[in-house]
Amino acid sequence: MSEAKPLPKFAVLQLSGCAGCEVSLINATEWVDNYQLVYMPLVVSTTAVPDDTEILLVSGGVRNDEDIYNLRKAAAKVDRVIAVGTCAISGGVSNLGDRDDVRNIFLAQSTRHHLPHLLPKSHPIDAFVDVDLYLPGCPPTPELFMAALTDPEGYEAGSIVCVECGRKKLKDMRPTHLVGFQQGEVLPDICLINQGYLCVGSSTRGGCRAICTKPGHPCVGCRGPSNAYIEKESSVWFDRVQQVFERMTDIPPEEIKEALHSPQLSLFLFQFTDYSEGGRPPRPKEKVL
């Protein structure tokens, strides 16, 4: 019997984030027999990424000087870097702190004794290292993790969340105003837009299997823009959402516009603005799962 080929090694580096991506990864069990997990402080006691590691998954944003150091050191050792989750890709939820008043609070903390120095804002990892694959989602589902580790090209996802959601879009149910972000009874099986919810699933990339919209919560866009918009300015994405509402509802366009641009939905839409703004080139769609 020939000797079995050693399993490919992968490492998981967690920068400033919530560990939700890691938790999602350990919800997938298939990798246990196919990969050797060599570094992941959440579940393994090791001090550094070994030299012969093939794949590095990075979650979390770059929030302090230790994050920069750890990221550069780890990325230099591996063949392939995968940015996992919205924090690593675009700064994530923490990017909501990219405002003058909040930056000042961080700066005030940055001189503290012994502690890593906080940067004025949270950065995506590709501001510091080259990324081979982006895996957006907050967090990406276990299924997406497995696809990223095994066969990114072969992963079949609906182009947008609507395709995977399956709620029926009705022609004759036209709301005249948005209902509160979470308010009201949710009818089963009927499109949330028909019910007046600000759901952005119509231009958000699929692959999540619509786990929020199916049980009745509007899509907040955590997977980012679909391939049709990912290489364009974020305003194109916003316009597209606007058009969908104009076609399907009688809600005044200003109301939608305000809701999209105001802090409403800022959680995820805001962060993707740096796909095309803020001096960073858009991520090519071939590199986004």
């Binding site: 919800n27 929030r63 012994h114 979470q182 308010q183 786990i211 959680l267």
Partner: protein, 437 residues
């Protein structure tokens, strides 16, 4: 003066321990939380209704607790009472969180310490035989996966749930989905008990080897669980004195009257105390503050624990055993709940947004969690998160000092110290992302 620095792994988030040693004496033991994201600041100005979706992102491990605490804080501010069904779904959510969290802490974080491995996924550096290790990892993941499935069923999204809304939940649980989940729980509870039995034996063996259960001096205990049986969708916080007498009972809005809070320059997380005494939150606190589990298997384990260690029990490694008891409880309770109808009408009541201030409390796996919001013009004017790990900070440092004194002598430092530091910290299952937000 020598400074010993210990990096930490197999805990949630970024932290390290520093001990200062002079002539073989431990001068100080510090637990340093070294990350901060600043939720308290950047949620200011956010639409209040969005909070239940934003705050789970404080922590991917405790997200469910934040989700429910957030909704409760908003309901408190808006004076809304959710219907019975909503409370049931929220309890199920918290049970799913409990399964996932306790299974992770037991089998992924702390079990490797008991078999001398670096992780449950690594057999080669383990003292146990490889085949047994592999099956351990697979069984452990299977048990914790049930928690995730339960969260998904009750909460929609699986890490950052979405189904709890102000005034209720977006939907109930369909009979066929409940039936499927029930079957999976029933199929897996035996595995959970087997793993816990093995864990218990490994813990006893480890105690034999190292000769201590860690810091076993009395402390105060804080929890918001029920008096007679566990409660996670809770409403009142209780504190137990070191002798086992109840010292205080208070609603979440009164926490400042009972708890002292202190910040330090070496950590992004502060620490709280009660009347100058060390506080402990988490599983052991709940066990000391609740009469029974109210489900048969969990009660069997609780009785075993009480017979062996008394009540209140103090040794810190018992936190781990208590987590196992709660894991079994969460399975049994979820089975109980899913056997009832969870798809009747009235998933939520209407509300109107207005200015106000509110407090939301849940018993998270790590202890009582409070969200406190001030709403102005529909936006969050101020938000405060009172995190259970912060209650444990003083207790962690005291236990680290005990470990330091045990393994550091004028003759030298016993190499067991590094392992002891890991064991001590993991016993408290601290969550750094939460503690610093």
């Amino acid at each position: 003066m020598t400074t010993l620095r210990f990096p930490l792994s197999r805990i949630e988030g970024h932290a390290r321990v520093e001990m200062e040693v002079q002539d073989g004496e431990v001068v100080s033991a510090q637990f340093q939380a070294i990350e901060m994201r600043g939720f308290r600041y950047f949620v200011q100005g956010t639409p209040a209704e969005q909070m239940p979706v934003i705050v789970p992102r404080i922590c991917g491990v405790c997200s469910t607790a934040h989700h429910v605490a957030s909704v409760k804080a908003l309901e408190n501010a808006l004076e809304v009472e959710p219907p019975k069904l909503a409370n049931e779904i929220r309890e199920l959510l918290l049970l799913g969180q409990l399964i996932q969290n306790q299974a992770t802490s037991l089998f992924i974080f702390t079990m490797p310490d008991r078999v001398g491995a670096s992780s449950i996924f690594h057999m080669e550096d383990s003292e146990a035989n490889p085949e047994q290790q592999l099956s351990l990892a697979q069984r452990a993941l299977k048990v914790r996966q049930i928690g995730t499935k339960l969260i998904t069923l009750a909460g929609g999204q699986f890490i950052h749930p979405v189904k709890a809304i102000i005034g209720g939940v977006t939907s109930g649980i369909k009979a066929e989905d409940a039936k499927q989940m029930l079957k999976e729980l029933q199929d897996t509870i035996t595995t959970a008990c087997e793993l816990f039995d093995e864990y218990w034996d490994m813990s006893l063996a480890m105690k034999e080897r190292i000769g201590t259960w860690g810091d076993d001096e009395p402390a105060c205990y804080i929890a918001s669980t029920g008096v007679n049986r566990p409660e996670f969708n809770s409403s009142v916080i209780r504190v137990l004195g070191p002798n086992g007498n109840e010292k205080a009972t208070f609603p979440p809005e009164s926490f400042r009257d009972f708890l002292d809070y202190q910040t330090t320059d070496y950590s992004f997380a502060g620490k709280s105390s009660f009347e100058g005494m060390v506080l402990r939150a988490n599983s052991l606190a709940r066990m000391n503050l609740t009469r029974s589990m109210g489900t048969p298997c969990a009660d069997y384990y609780l009785e075993r624990l009480t017979t062996e260690f008394g009540k209140p029990a103090h040794p810190i490694l018992l936190f781990d055993l208590c987590r196992g008891i709660e894991l079994v409880y969460a399975f049994e309770r979820a089975i109980e709940m899913l056997s009832e109808d969870l798809d009747y009408e009235d998933t939520s009541v209407p509300y109107s947004l207005r200015d106000g201030e509110g407090y939301g409390l849940v018993e998270a796996p790590r202890g009582p969690l409070i969200h406190h919001y001030t709403i102005e013009n529909g936006l969050i004017a101020d938000a405060e998160f009172i995190i259970p790990t912060v209650h444990n900070m003083g207790a962690i440092e005291r236990a680290l000092k005990v470990a330091g004194e045990r393994y550091i002598t004028p003759q030298g430092i016993n190499l067991e110290l590094e392992k002891a530091v890991g064991r001590v910290v993991r016993a408290f299952d601290p969550c750094i992302a939460c503690a610093t937000q």
